[in-house]
Symmetry: C2
Subunit: 384 residues, 2 copies
């Protein structure tokens, strides 16, 4: 039986101070919760979503929904994030377009959609907004923060921004410092939107949205989420409907058809300006920025970490997870690192559920156990 969940909304009247120096407010956060917060309020797990995700991580809003939430395989009774044990929260990021305040929202000051007057937000700003909601929910310390891709960036940022409020962080398929190649793909995708005349400098909410540009932007992104190997296996050079080349510019290869479909369906649920803001937040993400090194970023961190990479992820490759783990260990932190063999590329964090479930459940169980004090972590004495 699939759980029926409702999206909730919290509106904050106080202003959010952003890294860019501007403020945002009043603002709304859309969120969903699953399971029950226990009396000690120590079983809360905050799931952080990636670029195109939202608060609807699991279950259905209505029995007749065609599909459940985006990580339903991992969140629910008996699953990796077991809702019998945990109070799971998922919040749509600010800058997004799935219920939380973003560029498509009405600016109270002008009574018009923000468009490009929406301030540029960062991953740290997203976390700051989330922290306000966690305060509202009366949760002093999160048992865990967890997410893949940009979700993993938010998880790391939580441990840095609020060291005492996060017991453990699960960082999947992510990076502490977005690479120039990843920035390049994001910028190419943004350029597709800028080049669409319907974009109109972000001011399109009373007209036709720049769907052509957004669809191509998504196509580009989607290529980076798959791997060469998975594309060979899933599509190869197969033609979608014909036996022979058509010698025309129609969509012909199965891989083209798939990506075009993914691009066009994306425009039905996503706002082009949000795509710009969120990819920009990703590009800015560099925990070492303004610090001597990445090690320095984790200096005051107290959380335990589970870092998981996927062998064929070339967007945020395993070497970048290793960089995170090295920096954590340099700070004497408790870090578990797993590289999962997978052909699914970056998307593996959404697909390798069986492998993920094992490590995640173990890690969460360890976080739930009462602390044994430092003694327990020392090696046994030689004489014993």
């Amino acid at each position: 039986m699939t759980d029926i969940v409702k999206t909730q909304y919290a509106t904050f009247d106080h202003e959010l101070k952003l890294q860019c120096g501007a403020t945002l407010g009043p603002f709304t956060l859309a969120y969903e919760t699953y399971g029950q917060l226990n009396a000690k309020k120590d079983n809360a797990v905050l799931i952080l979503h990636a670029l195109s995700g939202d608060a609807h991580v699991a279950g259905k809003h209505d029995e007749n929904d065609r599909k459940p939430g985006w990580w339903d395989d991992a969140v629910g009774s008996g699953k990796a994030f077991d809702t019998d044990e945990h109070f799971v929260i998922c919040i749509n990021v600010i800058g997004g377009c799935r219920g939380s305040t973003g560029p498509a929202s009405i600016d109270a000051k002008t009574e018009k959609p923000y468009g490009l007057t929406f301030p540029v937000v960062t991953v740290a700003d997203m976390v700051e907004a989330q922290r306000m909601l966690i305060d509202e929910l009366g949760i002093e310390q999160l048992l865990a923060v967890a997410g893949g891709s940009m979700g993993g960036m938010q998880a790391m940022q939580w441990t840095v921004s609020y060291p005492e409020r996060v017991k453990g962080a699960i960082c999947l398929a992510t990076t502490a410092r977005v690479s120039p190649q990843a920035i390049a793909f994001d910028e190419a995708a943004r350029q597709c939107i800028y080049a669409d005349p319907n974009w109109n400098n972000g001011d399109y909410y009373d007209g036709t949205p720049p769907n052509a540009g957004l669809a191509v932007a998504r196509m580009i992104g989607h290529i980076t989420y798959l791997s060469d190997a998975s594309m060979r296996k899933k599509f190869g050079r197969r033609l979608q409907t014909k036996e022979q080349y058509g010698y025309e510019f129609a969509t012909e290869f199965a891989v083209e058809n798939y990506l075009k479909y993914r691009g066009s369906t994306f425009t039905q649920r996503f706002d082009a300006n949000s795509f710009l803001y969120i990819t920009k937040a990703i590009d800015y993400f560099d925990l070492g920025h303004g610090r001597a090194s990445l090690d320095e970023a984790f200096k005051h961190v107290q959380s335990k970490f589970l870092v998981v990479s996927f062998s064929s992820d070339w967007l945020y490759p395993p070497s970048e997870s290793e960089e995170i783990v090295r920096a954590l260990l340099q700070n004497g932190l408790d870090a578990t690192y797993v590289e999962i063999e997978s052909n699914y590329g970056h998307d593996a964090f959404l697909l390798e559920i069986e492998r993920l479930t094992g490590v995640t459940r173990d890690f969460l169980a360890r976080l739930r156990r009462p602390a044994k004090g430092r003694k327990a972590r020392k090696p046994p004495t030689a004489g014993k």
Copy 2:
């Protein structure tokens, strides 16, 4: 001293029968030659260009030219393709926009530019047109055909289409079968052009060309020509002009600036429709297509091969060169394979000149030597 060369033009009144079933004609080929054809006419080397190349492979058209031809480091007196020894020819492909007949050319039947009425051409069609020019030049057998990327595809196609007319083939950074990932990037790039309203279904020659779309298309392509490692080294996360993030949607990171520059300069020398036609020819390239296997494609081939891949090339990775070599060896052909360690990605075939020069010169010298007969290739008898 840089050689001064002139582009020559050959117009063919007979029609070219294309793989799509259509015919093209009359048509023109733009080409350049370097060095002298010897009396025996056995020192001709045909260089085949990649997607954005042209006939101007080396030297300058005028002393005041800012830059020489696209492979000047490899073609000239004492260089890899030594013009003291060889008669080097380079021909702009049909479908191109650098002097040979392509979609921007005037269709004699309508007296208007072809636009999308230009027939879809393939790599085999490009080679067929080149063969006509080689006939005109009175060359019975080419000492070698050589090229990188799509140039390597043409080189292989020459050995398959005209086994007796090619003594040796040099195939650099190429593939016998374009992968779904490479097709996906090409299609995303094409979609950028389609989405530009100035494209106007290919009919823009008396108006504004779709430069915005073409620039983004080129940006995407260019990312695939570099490697993650070379981007980290060349750009890292460096900002182009500032010290601190600007929190705006301007071009900020050095890598963005570079790609945007490459995209916009490309529009000054390239036609968007040609980009569509040539990428489509690339996507269609699969020597095994319509045959039982890739091995089968090389069944009647007689040429010797030098196949070179570059370790960080992820567009046409070394594994795809190995696939070519295996198929050649299956057919008992003489194939030398070199994987060159390089961080330059796919572009390495234009940049790793020192490494390339050695193997290329050796291979060409071997081709120039008179054949020793079959005996020499048999292993020595056990008794000796």
